[in-house]
Structure formats: C-alpha cells, structure tokens
C-alpha cells in the first residue's frame, strides 16, 4: 500500500516535470550571451566616433548600444537607460526613416 502511494507520487512528479520541460524552451545548445557585461552611463559624446545598435536576438534579450571611440578605436557599451544615450537612439531612429 505504501509502496503504491510512493509509486503514484513519483509518476505524477515525473509527469509534472515533463510538462514543465515541454513548456520551457530549448536548453541543450543556446546560452544567453550578451556582449555588454557592464555599461557606461556618463556622458562621453564628444569622444564617440560611431554608434551601433544591437536589437534583441536569439542569444541576448537586451538592446545593446556599442560606441567606438575616436582616439583609441576602443569599443564601449553605453547604458540604454541614460538620458543622453536615449537622445542618440531617438536621433538614429529618426534618421532611419525615409
């Protein structure tokens, strides 16, 4: 009797796990891999040569903004929530419209 109850509980638990796994997404290969580990929020507009916007993609759910600096050519991640960065984004979006 006890063993039967245990068996039923185990089966239900496995079925529950199966449903959850079925509901979740593929996990064997794709790992989250954004390029920006940290972001710069202080204003450095004067030193920027160009800006690249990366939309959310299979490997990264975030919008990433990467600036290339004039003097060194170094790439740096900008903080999407910083007001001055938002201005850049808005300007870029406007410029893209035909």
């Amino acid at each position: 009797m006890t063993s039967k109850i245990i068996s039923v509980c185990v089966i239900v638990f496995l079925a529950f796990l199966t449903i959850i796994e079925g509901m979740s997404l593929r996990g064997l290969a794709v790992d989250p891999r954004c390029r920006c580990i940290e972001t710069e929020s202080r204003r450095i507009g004067k030193h920027i040569k160009s800006v690249e916007l990366f939309p959310p993609s299979p490997h990264c759910k975030d919008l990433e903004i990467i600036a290339t600096l004039m003097t060194t050519g170094q790439e740096i991640c900008l903080d999407p929530s910083a007001p001055w960065v938002k201005k850049i984004i808005d300007r870029i979006i406007v410029n893209r419209k035909p």
Binding site: L25, A29, K61
Partner: protein, 367 residues
C-alpha cells in the same frame, strides 16, 4: 525603443546636436573603466575547429558500432530477450542522434545553411534521441535489477511486444520533450555572432526561463537516470558479492562498474560546466565577471557536451559487445563471410550453483 535590426551610425550625423557632441564628463586622457564589450569570436573560433573534428569522429565510430549492433540483433530478432530489445532501441536512438552531429558541425564551421524546416527536424531529433538514449540505459539497469535482485520477470520471453510497448512509451515521453523545438526553432541570423545564421530559437529566453530550463535538464537528463543506475547496479553488485566467487561473477562485476563509470565520466563534466555557467550568468556582482570567464565557460560547455556525446559511441561496447551470447551471434554472422573461428571462443565454462541461479532468473545478454 523601436529597434529591430543592427544599426550603425557615425557621430558626424550628429554634428548639429551640439549639446550631445561637445559635452563630455571626461577629459581626453581619462580612461574608460566601464562598458567593456565582450566579443564571442574566440569561443566561436574554438567551436569551428573542435566540433567538426570530434563530431566527425563520433559519427563514424558511433555509427559503425551501433549499426553493427542493429544488424546482429535484427538477425536474431526471433529470439530477442528483454535486454536485447532495450539495447536495440538504445542503438537506434544513438544512431539517430549521431546522424544530427554533421549538421551541427557544418553550422559551427560556416553557418546553418539547411533552412528552417531541416533546423526544426534536426533539433527535435537531437533532443528526442538525447533523452531517449539516457532513458533506455535506465530501463536496462531497472530490468537487470528486477531480474537479478528480485527475480521478477517484468516481461516473459513469449511477450516481446510488451517490452516494445514500454520502449514506445519512452519514445513518446521524449517526443513530448521535443515539441517546443518543432514550434520555436528556426534559422535565425544574429548580428552579435558575426552575422551568422544559426539554428536557434527565434528569441532569447528570459533569465527565469533559462534557469528553469537548466534545472529541468539537470534533473530529467542527469540526476534521475543517475540515481536509477546507481541504485540498480549497486543492488546488483551487493547481490553478486554474496555467495561464492567465480570468474563469471568477477567479470560481471567489472562490467557493471564500467557501465556506471562510463555514464558518470561522460555526463558529470557537462552538468558541472552548465551549473558553473548558470551561476555565473545569474551573478549580480558585475565586478566579479569578465570576458575571459565568459569565453572559458563557452569553451568548457562545448568541450564537455561533445565529450558527453561520445557516450553514444561506447554504448555498443558496454552493453552489447561484452555479452558472450552477442559475440557468438556476431561470429556466427561473420563466419559465412570467410572469418575463421579461432580457438574455442564459444566455449562457456561450467557454472557454479550460485551463478546458475542468477542465470536462470536473468535474461540479460551482457553477463
């Protein structure tokens, strides 16, 4: 922010934006400490070298071994016992998984060039057979446990269909796990990864779902099978250690230890790498993280996952070729092809009374 594709702009476009252009919180000589950009180029380069070589090796060796098992078992299909049927399904699962490896190898070297429908098929086939192979191992260990320790005949020789039905249940269970792949997988271009098209989900997962998915994998794909195998084979070992010792028993013990070690050596490193990656990804202390750590984890996951797939290649050796009966059938099959039987390979030494008891109650072909 409505941004749907990678966009590049030169700051010359903002020359009329004097407030933005001229202001700076820095002087020209100050260094920029924050905002480091991680490239994935080195880990992708590692993938493009490592995966083709190892995947090709695994595919060739594994297909040969598992194919041979299928041929031998097919030839004796009228007299298959319980374990033979499980091994048959195990080999089938391994073959189907190994057949997907060349596609992933091409993806790692170049990009996914096979289109979305084949992406869905390959991804789903991989997952179905990935789990199916692991659960067939668990079924084999359970069958041996019931036969040897409890002398319980789950299935009779005369009812092989019951065993096939059990295998079909496992296949169906694994098919359910692959449904998201059928729905979500596609050939998608990612501007963060050298603008390559890859066979991945269309959108990135939220952190919550990544974590849930990882935990479910660890549990369903490793912990449950591991517990089953350890419990079953430990019980079998304890039973075998009782009573008189003989060569047959020692050999059986060695085989069991090899089976368990092979499983853990194959899968533990991969699970550890995944756990380390999960912990690292969820760490909020940004000062602790670095691009080098990211790259190291990427390489570790690629290496350990490939090593895990090698388990498909050793399964034929551990589960089929160790069986005396299996080798007899193999030799019987090869003899018409001109191979001469050397010595007395088919001779079986006299069994002790203790061993006879195990043999009488067991239909396993590996001992």
């Amino acid at each position: 922010m409505n941004v749907d594709s990678k966009t590049t702009f030169s700051m010359k476009d903002f020359s009329d934006y004097t407030d933005l252009y001229n202001y700076s919180d820095y002087n020209d000589n100050e260094s920029y400490g924050a905002g480091a950009v991680c490239t994935q180029d080195s880990s992708m380069y590692f993938d493009s070298i490592f995966k083709p070589i190892l995947y090709s090796l695994a595919a060739v060796v594994g297909l040969l071994g598992n194919g041979l098992v299928l041929i031998v078992l097919w030839k004796k299909r009228a007299g298959l016992n319980v374990t033979d049927i499980f091994i048959l399904h195990l080999s089938l699962a391994d073959i189907l998984l190994l057949l997907t490896l060349p596609f992933w190898a091409v993806e790692a070297v170049k990009e996914w060039i096979f289109g979305t429908p084949l992406c869905k098929l390959t991804g789903a086939m991989f997952r179905i057979n990935f789990y199916c192979g692991i659960y067939m191992l668990s079924c084999i260990s359970l069958d041996r446990y019931l036969s040897i320790v409890h002398a319980v005949q789950m299935y009779s020789r005369k009812k092989p269909m019951a065993v096939h039905c059990c295998c079909m249940i496992v296949w169906f269970f694994c098919f359910l796990l692959s449904i998201p792949d059928w729905i979500l997988l596609g050939a998608n271009k990612d501007s963060r990864r050298q603008d390559r098209t890859e066979c991945v989900n269309s959108e990135a997962l939220s952190d919550f779902w990544v974590l849930v998915n990882r935990l479910i994998y660890h549990f369903l794909g490793f912990i449950i099978p591991a517990i089953m195998m350890v419990f079953c084979y430990t019980s079998i070992l304890l039973r075998l250690l009782l009573g008189s010792k003989c060569m047959q028993k020692k050999r059986a013990i060695h085989v069991i230890v090899a089976l368990v070690l092979a499983f853990f050596i194959s899968w533990t490193p991969y699970n550890i790498a995944l756990m380390a990656d999960t912990i690292h990804t969820n760490r909020t202390d940004n000062n602790q993280t670095s691009c080098e750590t990211r790259t190291t984890l990427d390489v570790a996951i690629t290496a350990t996952s490939t090593f895990a797939y090698m388990h498909c290649c050793v399964n034929p050796i551990l589960y089929a070729f160790v069986g005396v009966k299996f080798r007899q059938h193999l030799l019987d099959m090869l003899r018409p092809l001109g191979f001469k039987l050397k010595g007395r390979a088919g001779l079986v030494s006299r069994k002790s009374s203790g061993w006879s008891e195990s043999v009488d109650t067991s239909h396993t072909s590996a001992f």
